[in-house]
Amino acid sequence: MLKRLNGQDDMTGAEIPIRDAAFPAPFVSGLEYNAPARGPWNIVHTGMLIPESHQVFACAQGCLRGVILTAAEMLEMGRMSWISVDRNDLFDGSLERNIVDGTAEIIRKLPKKPRALLLFISCVHLFAGCDFEFMLGELRAMFPDIDFIDCYMNPTMRKSGLTPDQLMRRQLYALFAPCPADPKTVNLIGNDRPTDGTSELAQLVKLAGWELRDITLCRNYEEYMRMAKSTLEITYLPTAKASGDALEKRLGRKHLYLPLSYDFDEIERNLASLADALGIAAPDWSEAKRNALRALDRAKEIVGDTPVEIDYTATPRHIGLAALLAEHGFHVTRVYTDAMIEEERPAFERLRALAPDLLLTATVHAKMRFAGKGVHERGDVLAIGQKAAYFSGTKHFVNIVSGGGMYGFDGIARLADRMVEAATHEQDTETVIQYKGLGCRSCL
């Protein structure tokens, strides 16, 4: 017999006080729900970061719907084409041939040849054992002036190996081949939005007289390809770490993973590592720390005892952020997270001791279908992140994804300022969060 999971009375399985929660996976995986808060980027958004590139998706029509809508919403339909796959392609062994011929036809029909072509194959091609290298080899021979990148839309494989998001961020730099390095140049790898120029990371690079290169700042293909010649690779998002590791292995250049953090000691350690790699002495960060603390105090004064709810899309270190805010007297009541990364373990233990009643809430649990749209509405909440805003129904929220480009002590100060702004200004939540890919052209 079917049972309605209305989530109104019983949220068992979908939320748990942190004191009772298991780390890193507090919830049982099962039937999943996807809230209509679409800020995090998908593979289409990320791929569009390569200037002057074109995307070709080869997959079944049902799967094409989502990627095409993303491109349409970005107003980038001119940079995407597709090849649909049907049943007969499996019977007659034409899966590979159709991709090669279809891609060639697309290229010939484009008004201007792209500099790079991102070719996405899908689950069916991997199941059938298509030889991607062979297909790319044929295309490279036909179009030697275009750089081809192998890309993957394979959601059925997301539970093993790299996630589609990690893989896409890695493939963004797949064209970079070993070459002589430009001295004193550093890449910020795997981000989908620029990092604030006021961050200690950017300031340190500037202080050392190095040039910071970032795909989000590249205006044309030449600038993007110049990144291949940088001396040092930096990543700070967990989803970008595999990209940095791959570049280090392939190009033989140093990769520094300096994880986004809200822990003062960890931030200082990261900056010390960076200073060391840049060949300068680490500056005294006392003033930067004081600024961050002052900003938190100001925010606490404004936010007061308003419940604060944070979701995992706002920052990969959502537990760390919750711990920081709780330590500074904020009334953090809920964190929306389906699973946590190992890096969060120390913050998880701190938060558990500090706020044992804080609720961890799954975002994908089936019961969450009824958690938004007012059923669980708690109007006086200050939310950080779109999913927290959606589920709580608040009009007061900090609209960021993936850390929002805020990094270091400066990042904490800026985030505190954004909290003040959110606490004092209402937003039309429903309108704001319905767009995919916060920070893309569609959301500007």
Partner: protein
């Protein structure tokens, strides 16, 4: 490192032959890895007393990606590194996909770099029926394909199909056809039929094996002939075949 794939009609004796070749190579001091690409996961049975070993697909099913390279292999008689790809439940799932996954896992976990075998033998199920079964002959896998056949019509027919697939894929830089291996079933004009097939595909009969009760005796012991009856005439045939296969593989595409 020499990588060789063995194809042929089901029941023609691929696993028995490949395991005996592995034993013969190992006896000559070569480091050998044998990879069974059959859902039954019994390719290497005669190299470890007839016992079944845990297949890569078993590991993937149980632990996703959370297993080590060491857990994917078992050392058999003569130090042969035994691997079984495994596959889905009979009648369900996709055997070809199983082979793809298994070979990808071996690559991912660095099997060839870590063990550094001198010879890798892929024992592949039946026919090239889908992309999964062509995987062992792709770039990065086998250098040469050997096809086992008897003189029986259906066996010759299957061998011709496989040879055709190898020829079709040659333009892609896949494995070359190393030759045919005649596993005699004592049918009329057997040698001539197989020689004709070799001529049709411009390849050679790399070696021939007689039907022998010794093979069944060794199988009952859960051993290879080379290991169980090293002084038997059949063991001598396997050793001769091992030399011939190596010579043919090193020759590559050169005409017979």
């Amino acid at each position: 490192m020499l990588k060789l794939a063995f194809y042929g009609k089901g029941g023609i004796g691929k696993s028995t032959t490949v395991s005996n070749l592995a034993s013969a190579f190992a006896a000559n001091g070569l480091k050998v890895m044998q990879i069974g690409c059959d859902p039954k996961a019994d390719s290497t049975a005669s190299l470890h007393g007839g016992a079944r070993i845990r297949s890569i697909l078993d590991l993937v099913r149980e632990r996703n990606n959370d297993f080590t390279l060491d857990e994917m292999v078992r050392l058999g008689d003569g130090g042969v590194i035994c691997v079984e790809a495994g596959g889905p439940t009979p009648g369900l799932g996709c055997a070809g996909r199983g082979i793809i996954t298994a070979l990808e896992k071996l690559q991912e976990k660095g099997a060839y770099d870590v063990y550094k075998p001198d010879v890798v033998l892929y024992d592949v199920l039946g026919d090239v029926v889908c992309g999964g079964f062509s995987m062992p002959m792709r770039k990065g896998c086998a250098d040469s394909v050997f096809i086992l056949t008897s003189g029986e019509t259906m066996s010759v027919y299957a061998a011709a199909n496989i040879a055709m697939a190898v020829r079709n894929f040659r333009g892609r830089g896949y494995a070359s056809l190393g030759g045919l291996i005649l596993n005699r079933r004592n049918v009329p004009d057997e040698d001539a039929k197989v020689a004709q097939l070799a001529a049709d595909f411009e390849t050679c009969v790399a070696g021939a094996l007689d039907w022998s009760e010794t093979v069944q005796q060794a199988e009952r012991l859960g051993k290879t002939v080379v290991h169980a009856f090293p002084d038997s005439p059949m063991a001598a045939q396997y050793r001769a075949l091992a030399d011939a296969v190596l010579a043919a593989a090193r020759k590559g595409d050169a005409p017979c």
